[in-house]
């Protein structure tokens, strides 16, 4: 199992705000989750995209479509030609554009998790997007270690149209036995915490980050 962001899996919340009347025209309260496997994504409706299959999330007339942005380099199509061929593993190797449509019209292209907004005329399009991110936790200790993890649950839009804040899920817990690996994944921002209260007494532990340069000690 690789440790990485899956750009084929995403969740979003979206809102359409009228800056003239200072009111929301539409707003997603929960957001729409993509399925856990791209191969199950249904064929897109007309214009989203025009042909082929698409991995997408939608709410009312909002559409976020994942497309292969490097199709000229990786010999893969802009959009999946079949649903079955584009399984999660294949998509995980392909960097995708996330294109935001409203009523089948392309509004903007989004490249990263987080809050995005674009204003066209008097309409402000507000999008909270989170890619699925999976990280392997390797326990090199002699004892079991307990971790907790959580991710983006939804975005909450400010009533005045000024932006949005991320609401996180509750904490999920996992105990990793000595020498074992646990893969935890959530929609970004993914957070993982190490509970020092659950560490074996007297253990001094280094946590090696993915960039390999930062270590943390727990003195218990």
């Amino acid at each position: 199992m690789a440790s990485h962001r899956y750009e084929s899996r995403f969740r979003f919340c979206a809102a359409l705000y009228n800056t003239s009347t200072n009111s929301f025209l539409q707003k997603s309260s929960v957001g729409t989750s993509s399925s856990n496997n791209a191969s199950t994504a249904p064929k897109a409706t007309t214009g989203l995209p025009a042909s082929g299959y698409a991995y997408y999330g939608a709410y009312n007339n909002y559409w976020l479509i994942a497309q292969n942005s490097h199709n000229s380099l990786n010999s893969k199509g802009l959009n999946p030609t079949t649903a079955k061929a584009w399984n999660d593993y294949i998509w995980s190797l392909v960097p995708n554009n996330i294109k935001f449509f409203y009523n089948s019209s392309l509004i903007t292209t989004i490249g990263a998790s987080g809050y995005h907004e674009v204003t066209v005329g008097i309409l402000k399009y507000m999008i909270g997007l989170g890619f699925w991110h999976s990280v392997d936790i390797v326990n090199g200790m002699d004892d079991a270690i307990t971790i907790e993890y959580r991710g983006m649950d939804k975005y909450l839009f400010d009533l005045d149209g000024g932006g949005a804040t991320v609401a996180m899920t509750g904490w999920y817990s996992a105990t990793i036995t000595s020498g074992s690996t646990f893969s935890c994944g959530m929609f970004e921002p993914l957070e993982i915490r190490f509970d020092t209260d659950n560490l074996p007494s007297g253990e001094n532990i280094g946590i090696v980050m993915q960039n390999g340069t930062t270590k943390y000690l727990f003195l218990n």
Partner: protein, 226 residues
Amino acid sequence: MSTLTISTADGTITNTEVDSAGLLNSNDGSVSAAPVAIGSVTIPSGAKPIFGAAGIPLFSTSGVPVFESVIDETDNIDGYQVIGEATITIDWSASGISDLDCCAYWADNSGSLIGWSHGSGGLANDNYTAWWTGDDTGNGPETIALLTASSRRSSKETSPFQYKVHLNFYGNGLGGTPAASVTITRGAVTLSKIITPSTNQGQAATISDPSATITFSSDGTPTTIA
């Protein structure tokens, strides 16, 4: 509960890089936990350390005893920095009065006092692990560091878990308006209260002086300050 959190938001969890061929690298690498040995440390004379694994006393290079549960370290194991578990900060800088005196203790153990009238820095004792700074700043702030997690809190403490901080201006003769803020910080939780200390010039703080009472939940998280 003491924790260390890593996140995609602050870069401690990294995003997959894209290579020149337009493909994502298949693996960013894992996050791993591994045993760490404590190297040689310098122990200031006259101070009582907390002992870590294998009976090795733990101090930071600045000489502050290491009693905390979470320590931030990069490359040099002897250069680690205490992040802290719970810190009480007492600030009277706005009062215009110098030399505030303190008397602090766990509510169930009022006989085990710490503070600037009870010594010039050090640990309370093995059962009431706490550290206070020396009485070395005329106008504050000064701090008390405290272990509050259930696994480290004295077993003699019973619910409700409360810590009391009494304050008196030793140096009231210099004038000013007596006031001091007491702030407890533990992880993401910060609670604060402003109290009016006594003004018994030239006298040490006692448990009869005005106080702030900090209440902790069973897991050591501060819940109220009153």
